[in-house]
């Protein structure tokens, strides 16, 4: 029996008084890869923001239990310390802050939370060298300002590089495939696969089946109007690719 990592129950949430998630249920065990698909506006990105703790979204009902703890009121930083990671669909540019300084601060803030000493510079740099190789991140990018002037592909690689550095329990990849050419897609997927273990889980949020050729999911869920309306194995993604989403919407209406 696998160990439960996160359980989302009856999750409802609003943004600007508009209901986005309307009773979402999802269970993820350690070692699993879940794909969440769905048409535009179905609530996919909202789900990722809510899980990461973006306070623009207001949870009005339901619960999120992460590693035995209710986290829906927890700050984003605390969620991160406990092992939550969101790879952003649109990684934010932070001018003047070097990628390296940013990551070092992130690791040290977490160490501080757990009462551990700051990571020695030498170990940190060794770790950077090791993890950046995973996604073939150019050495120069590490010293540049966070995401500033990065190409679309470089930004996404940088997200996976950060994921590797932080070694999270649950990684949510929000449309990581958008804006990637096929070579970059392979590199990013390859990085994600290498980070997979029996101790962590991955949620892949995507529009298209293509990414799932490289990151193979154990489960595929279809999100529509803020609810999961169908779950299946990876063959569901192929079916969606062929038929689109409309047949599912009608199904539900019947």
């Amino acid at each position: 029996m696998s160990e439960l990592l996160i359980e989302i129950k009856d999750l409802e949430c609003n943004i600007d008084n508009q209901k986005i998630l309307q009773g979402l249920n999802l269970k993820i065990n350690k070692g699993e890869v879940h794909a969440i698909m769905g048409p535009n506006g179905s609530g996919k990105s909202t789900l990722s923001s809510v899980l990461a703790g973006n306070d623009n979204y207001e949870v009005t009902n339901g619960s999120i239990n992460f590693l035995g703890e209710e986290i829906s009121e927890m700050s984003p930083e605390e969620r991160s310390w406990k092992g939550m990671f969101l790879a952003f669909q649109y990684p934010v540019e932070i001018p003047g802050v070097s990628n390296i300084n940013f990551l070092r601060t992130a690791l040290n803030e977490r160490n501080k939370y757990f009462g551990i000493d700051s990571i020695p510079a030498k170990d940190f740099l060794k770790m950077v060298a090791e993890k950046s190789e995973l996604v073939g991140l150019n050495n120069k990018l590490k010293n540049r300002s966070v995401n500033e002037g990065f190409s679309g592909g470089e930004k996404k690689r940088n997200e996976i590089f950060q994921m590797a550095m932080l070694d999270p329990k649950l990684s949510i990849l929000d449309e990581t495939d958008s804006g990637l050419d096929i070579d970059a897609l392979k590199i990013v997927a390859n990085g994600v696969n290498k980070l997979k273990s029996s101790e962590n889980a991955t949620v892949v949020i995507t529009h298209y089946q293509r990414l799932l050729d490289y990151i193979v999911p154990d489960f595929v869920h279809v999100l529509h109007e803020g609810k999961i309306i169908k779950s299946g194995d990876k063959s569901l993604a192929l079916e969606l690719e062929k038929k689109g989403y409309d047949w599912l919407k009608t199904d539900e209406n019947i």
């Binding site: 990461a52 703790g53 973006n54 306070d55 623009n56 700050s75 984003p76 930083e77 969620r79 991160s80 310390w81 939550m84 990671f85 969101l86 952003f88 990684p91 934010v92 540019e93 932070i94 001018p95 003047g96 802050v97 300084n101 940013f102 990551l103 601060t105 992130a106 690791l107 803030e109 977490r110 939370y113 300002s145 950060q162 932080l166």
Partner: protein
Amino acid sequence: MIIKDLNHNSLLKENSKLDLEALNLGSFPKRKEERWKYTPLRSLKKINFHNQFNFKIEHLSSLGIPKIEGMVIVLENGKFNSSLSNIIDLMDIELLFLNHGNIVNNSQEPSHKDYFTNLNFSFLTEKVVLKIKPNVTINEPINFVNIISDDNCISNTQFNIDIYENSKLHIRQYFLGSSNSKDGFINHRNQVSLKSQSSLTIDKFQDLNQNFNFCNEFIDQEQESKFIMNTFSASGIILRNDVFNNVNGKNCHSELNGVFAPIEKQHFDNHTTINHFVADCKSFENYKGVIKESGVGVFNGKVIVHQDAQKIEAFQKNNNILLDDESKIYSKPELEIYADDVRCSHGSTTGRFDEEALFYLRSRGISVKKSLELMTLGFINEVIEKSNDSAYKEFVLKRLLKD
């Protein structure tokens, strides 16, 4: 300002051709005057100042600054403090002090007269003159530390820097207020003369705590000279810098940069005037304000390109971040151009930190406080980087971030 208890410097009276009695202080600046409209002087006006000097500081380290290597000239409460200083006899530098009686020709009339200039001249307690001979490059910075450590003490000081032809110097100025003193006031004047092909960089650091500091700076540049001034304003009740940079020779480079970070009703004010009198010069200004907790910042920069000063390139920039609703910035970039073939630009921005960026940092496990600190660092880095000494940079940054 209540100055009835102030004494004139007796040496000044003997040596100076200035008729002190005739040097009328004029009227105290009012808010309706354009140059003073953003600067509230009420807190300064009610203080009864004295200029009885005494030394209270035993070690510079008690003022929270890192150990300073090399030549250090320290004034405390308006007088030269030899025990805190480290005067190194450098062949190529001539160093004179008013109170050693070796400044004989002090007849120079202030070129720009206002209340605080007149106050400075008529109650001057110490003046230091530093001259560097022609064709000399001194790489190690020379440090000038001006301390106020006594309640209600006013320190009227002057520092003249003469850089002769083809020489190069780097100066670090510290204006410090002891954390044990309050309502002290350093009313300082810098007078800089740059001869042809010479170069001077001044890093200026202001950390006054519960005291005041006004600096009037006059810079005259001859041809092909280079002047850079980086002003870092960390604390003080009111800090005001008035820079007058006169570019009198062709092919000069003038650069004024600054970071000001007022908090808790502190008021930090930067007024600059760059006068381009002749053609073929470049000037750059870059001031960054980081303001929080009811702090108030002012940037009023003026570049004047006079008639016939063609081919001038002048760029002026002021960017500000307000960290909360109570903080204020008055930003007024000005260009006056009387020549027709110039490249000039000026701009000012004021904003808040991006919420998305804050969430991004927090989602990586960086606390709100640390995230704001990182973003602030990112914002001011461009200016901090102008100083090339990493220990100095780190120290300045720490104080600006109030870390």
